[in-house]
């Protein structure tokens, strides 16, 4: 279960790719970016001495010092707001919110300030910051530490949104985020941190903003991002045993949203299901499904499925939590019924 996807493994290994974890890939991305750009600072709760609540920033304080790795008080709005001001005055800050659920405390600074400054001010200045955080279920962390709130960001023009589902993307999307002219919300998944995969730091799977077909298949398209990529691939293996070949598209970034790659896949397969850990109603899966309906309507054999999180707060009981989001058996069952006559 700890094996994350390694794309193009033989070729990658030949190039000198290393087996590493999602967490270490993220740390490597920060370290390499900070070494290359002295204007990058990291700021957040417990990012320095503690090394990050999930260990992502461990060691950076020793390497870059207190002026670049800043332990902030528990002031989420202040952290994001300070990052906005720093980004407007020549720094490239990486602000960290320990849990995506803390968006609630910082949402004015995220949605009213960072997202809108370039537009409101007529293009005079951008806010080139990265807001790192992590979300999702898997640790019985309860309703306030397990959500998938990417829909809030997707619904706010001006914010880029990256959600890596592989070790390679953990590194390369974070490096790419640190070159963007606009604020990037970068949502990691708490259940992927210890996952292993191959990382070739020289070669990303695709440029920023492009979706990637992780597994080709002729019968149905599974669209996924973040941990749901892993779920989709495991479901695809199980479906293959039933003679169903599922194509898996990893969005990688939700803004930019690469609708073209998704539509091209659906035009080939004629069927689609969108996987998302976020709540079903009004969620990202609905947006992606509607785009498929508009872009590939003439090729669709069946309605586009949303296989998303239940419309409930996340419970702490292990079995209930597991049942609150799409599981491999749920995906296999739904997709088999979608495809088989």
């Amino acid at each position: 279960m700890n094996e994350l996807l390694s794309t193009g493994a033989p070729a990658a290994e030949a190039r000198g790719a290393q087996q590493t974890t999602y967490r270490d890939a993220l740390r490597q991305a920060l370290d390499d970016a900070m070494a290359a750009d002295p204007d990058i600072i990291v700021m957040g709760e417990e990012v320095g001495r503690y090394g990050g609540a999930y260990g992502v920033t461990k060691g950076l304080l020793d390497r870059y010092g207190e002026t670049r790795v800043i332990d902030a008080p528990i002031s989420e709005a202040g952290i994001v707001g300070a990052a906005v001001g720093a980004a407007m005055t020549g720094l490239r800050p990486v602000a960290e919110l320990m849990y995506v659920d803390f968006f609630g405390l910082a949402m004015d600074q995220i949605a009213n300030q960072a997202a809108k400054i370039r537009y409101m001010f007529g293009g005079q200045i951008g806010v080139p910051m990265v807001l790192r955080t992590q979300g999702g279920t898997g640790r019985s962390a309860g309703a306030q530490h397990s959500q998938s709130l990417e829909g809030w960001i997707l619904n706010t023009p001006g914010l880029r949104l990256a959600m890596p589902g592989t070790v390679s993307d953990a590194y390369h999307l974070l490096r790419a985020a640190l070159t963007q002219p606009d604020p990037v919300v970068f949502i990691e998944h708490k259940s992927l941190y210890t996952g292993q995969g191959l990382l070739d730091t020289a070669t990303p799977d695709a440029p920023w903003g492009q979706a990637v077909v992780r597994r080709p298949g002729r019968d149905v398209t599974l669209v996924a991002y973040s941990r749901m990529v892993k779920v989709a691939l495991e479901a695809a293996d199980a479906l293959a045993a039933q003679g169903i070949e599922a194509e898996v598209v990893d969005l990688r970034t939700l803004n930019p949203l690469d609708s073209d790659t998704v539509a091209q896949s659906v035009i080939r397969t004629g069927r689609a299901a969108v996987l998302s850990e976020a709540c079903l109603t009004g969620g990202p899966a609905a947006e992606i499904a509607q785009r498929i309906s508009e872009d590939a309507f003439d090729w669709l054999e069946e309605p586009v499925l949303r296989i998303a999180g239940e419309d409930v707060p996340i419970p702490v009981a292990v079995d209930l939590e597991a049942a609150s989001i799409p599981t491999v058996p749920r995906v296999v069952d739904a997709v088999a019924r979608l495809v088989l006559p």
């Binding site: 709005a77 202040g78 300070a82 407007m88 370039r118 409101m120 005079q124 200045i125 508009e294």
Partner: protein
């Protein structure tokens, strides 16, 4: 005229305050002539002492954010009234190309990091600017201007704590005009000892009478100098909002008596009396300044009315960086789905 001619001189402060007041009066006229973009216009008449006094204490290269009642502060920091008025009219020649308006005027060239329509929303940005100046070893200060309404917002205290904790070159300036929209400060705040609040965070904290622009200037100069040396501060400038919250507000929540008393606390009248009383300037000298301001701001109104509206395509620009593709217009998507319109 006996005046040292410096930016901090009493006469110059009078000139700045008069320009602010006349600008605000002309904004009101522009609204009556139905030439503004909307009615979200928050005038700072009565508060000119705060803007002029603190504004003159800042230097070139310093930055600031303001609240939604920030026209005067930007004028005190060197704004071009033509481009301000054009922005208020929603015109392409405005500071923000007509996309920001009265509540979102900004200008990076003059260090204006933006006016804000969220109470307290612009405050933490100065903490970030302070971090940036320290990181780049720039000898600058960043000043957050906000109203008394923001004194009850948590973000102010998060920002004060961070500024004090990290010894940042930052100053927090509260322009206390006594009213958060229609609620008087003593009905909104359990304590009026705002300087004590600031001191409890380790900031320097002062309250100054905003009708005395020279007192504001002197106090602000001390606090800005301290901030520049890494000792952040807080200044509450006590004044009175002469008119309603916004253009449509006739202030039914306060008595005519209270308004008359408040309007008697006029920073311009006070400075006028001081300058003539001290023999720094004659009535005629000050009348000439008034006339210059009137002509200048009449010109700004004319400029704004004559200016072009933004092009329709501007709707989709500036959402993302200049090298990024703009969002797809709905019309384009509909054409793709339905086939191009015949």
């Amino acid at each position: 005229m006996a005046d040292d001619g410096s930016n901090r001189s009493g006469l110059q402060l009078y000139r700045t305050m008069r320009r602010i007041r006349t600008f605000e009066e002309r904004v009101g006229e522009l609204f009556v002539r139905q030439q503004t973009a909307g009615s979200m216009l928050h005038l700072s008449i009565g508060e000119e002492g705060a803007a002029a006094g603190v504004g003159t204490a800042m230097r070139e290269g310093d930055s600031f954010t303001t609240h939604h009642r920030g026209h005067g502060i930007f004028i005190a920091r060197g704004a071009d009234p033509n481009r301000m008025m054009a922005e208020i009219a929603g015109k392409a020649a405005g500071y923000c190309a007509g996309k920001g308006g009265s509540m979102h005027i900004a200008d990076m060239a003059l260090g204006h990091l933006g006016a804000n329509a969220i109470v307290g929303g612009g405050i933490p940005a100065v903490v970030g600017a302070g971090l940036s100046y320290r990181h780049h070893k720039r000898p600058n200060v960043s000043v957050a201007f906000f109203g008394d309404g923001a004194l009850q917002q948590g973000i102010l205290y998060e920002s004060m704590n961070m500024a004090a904790l990290w010894h940042l070159p930052v100053l927090f300036v509260c322009i206390n005009n006594q009213y958060g929209m229609g609620t008087r400060i003593d009905r909104a705040s359990a304590s009026l000892a705002f300087d004590e609040r600031a001191r409890s965070f380790g900031l320097l904290g002062e309250i100054v009478d905003g009708t005395d622009v020279e007192a504001v200037r002197d106090t602000a100069e001390t606090l800005v100098a301290a901030a520049r040396a890494g000792r952040p501060g807080f200044l509450a400038v006590d004044c009175f909002r002469f008119y309603g919250h916004a253009r449509m507000d006739k202030s039914p929540y306060r008595s005519a008596e209270e308004e008359a008393e408040g309007r008697a606390r006029d920073p311009l009248k006070r400075q006028h009396a001081r300058l003539t009383g001290d023999g720094v300037a004659s009535e005629n000298d000050l009348a000439a300044i008034d006339a210059d301001a009137a002509a200048e701001m009449d010109g700004a109104v004319d400029f704004a009315i004559a200016a072009e509206k933004p092009a329709p395509a501007a709707l989709f620009g500036d959402v993302y960086g200049a090298d990024q593709p703009p969002p797809e217009p709905l019309a384009s998507r509909l054409d793709r789905v339905l086939g191009a319109t015949p």
